[in-house]
């Protein structure tokens, strides 16, 4: 935490009423941006410490709760993650991203039915979220509901941007969760847009290798 943040925390503690003036809001935004930047850069330990700094000031900050809850399982702590994410979802019931994070951590905890419920709630809030369809498809796959999983994959493909790189990444996600047919479909769509897309070609090559067939169809 930098000197400005420390001074800000001290002043908030002194006031003790939890209210932020404009300068305080700016400082909080800066603290949140720094934490998110570390989070996105994969520096989970630093990001979690920074989210905790924010939560020390504002225990009910929904994004800090959600993001710290999403990081904790990466650091081996699923137990602490769930209360954080459930609290975040209570505080911001209309936030699809928080529902998605909660769903994914429930999935990591092996609570697949609850995970599916939260991911469906996320989609009820925002039906255009490709990532949530993918995540729900993965959870339904775990629940041995292949038809429903395939339906979610179709929706993921229909909402994905018509961009070969996005579709190739989508294929990698499908492949990672053992859904090879969906991966093939996604790569076919990417290569229909750009037949020379190197990443998509290479990914399709690896897909066939994993299937034990080094020849293309």
């Amino acid at each position: 935490m930098n000197r400005q943040s420390r001074r800000f925390m001290k002043s908030v503690r002194k006031r003790g009423n939890g209210q932020l003036d404009a300068r305080g809001k700016d400082t909080l935004d800066i603290m949140m941006s720094a934490a998110v930047a570390h989070h996105e850069a994969g520096d989970m330990v630093v990001a979690l410490a920074e989210y905790n700094d924010i939560l020390e000031l504002y225990p009910d900050h929904p994004d800090a709760l959600s993001n710290s809850g999403f990081i904790m399982p990466h650091l081996g702590d699923i137990e602490s993650a769930l209360p954080c994410l459930r609290r975040a979802a209570e505080l911001a019931p209309g936030d699809a991203s928080i529902r998605n994070n909660l769903g994914m951590v429930l999935k990591s905890a092996g609570l697949f039915n609850e995970a599916a419920t939260e991911l469906r709630r996320a989609l009820a809030i925002n039906p255009a979220l490709t990532l949530v369809y993918i995540n729900l498809g993965t959870v339904l796959h775990k629940l041995h509901k292949p038809d429903e999983a395939a339906e979610m994959n179709r929706k993921a493909l229909s909402t994905a941007r018509d961009d070969p790189t996005t579709l190739t990444n989508l294929a990698a996600t499908f492949q990672g969760s053992g859904q090879r047919e969906a991966a093939e479909e996604s790569l076919a769509k990417a290569l229909a847009i750009n037949p020379n897309h190197a990443e998509a070609l290479s990914s399709r090559g690896f897909l066939y290798c994993f299937k034990g067939d080094s020849r293309p169809p």
Partner: protein, 72 residues
């Protein structure tokens, strides 16, 4: 194999595609072509651990131990 060849034609510095190409060539028994492909993968990504490992194994199997040493 055609996919990997097309990938490296489209992106000639794409290490992972060379790695895939090496795997496919190794699978059909074309060790020399596989070694060349793995070497390309390592050239464009010197920390591509899987390519380094596959190249080392193949060179060892071919009895070319001296060529393995720089890869260690």
């Amino acid at each position: 194999m055609i996919d990997f060849s097309a990938a490296v034609a489209a992106e000639p510095r794409f290490a992972n595609a060379y790695f895939g190409l090496g795997n496919a060539q190794s699978e059909i028994g074309d060790s020399e072509a596989a070694i060349t492909a793995y070497r390309e993968a390592v050239k464009y990504n010197p920390v591509h651990a899987n390519a380094c490992l596959a190249l080392s194994k193949l060179l060892r199997d071919e009895g070319r131990l001296r060529e393995v040493i720089p890869l260690l």
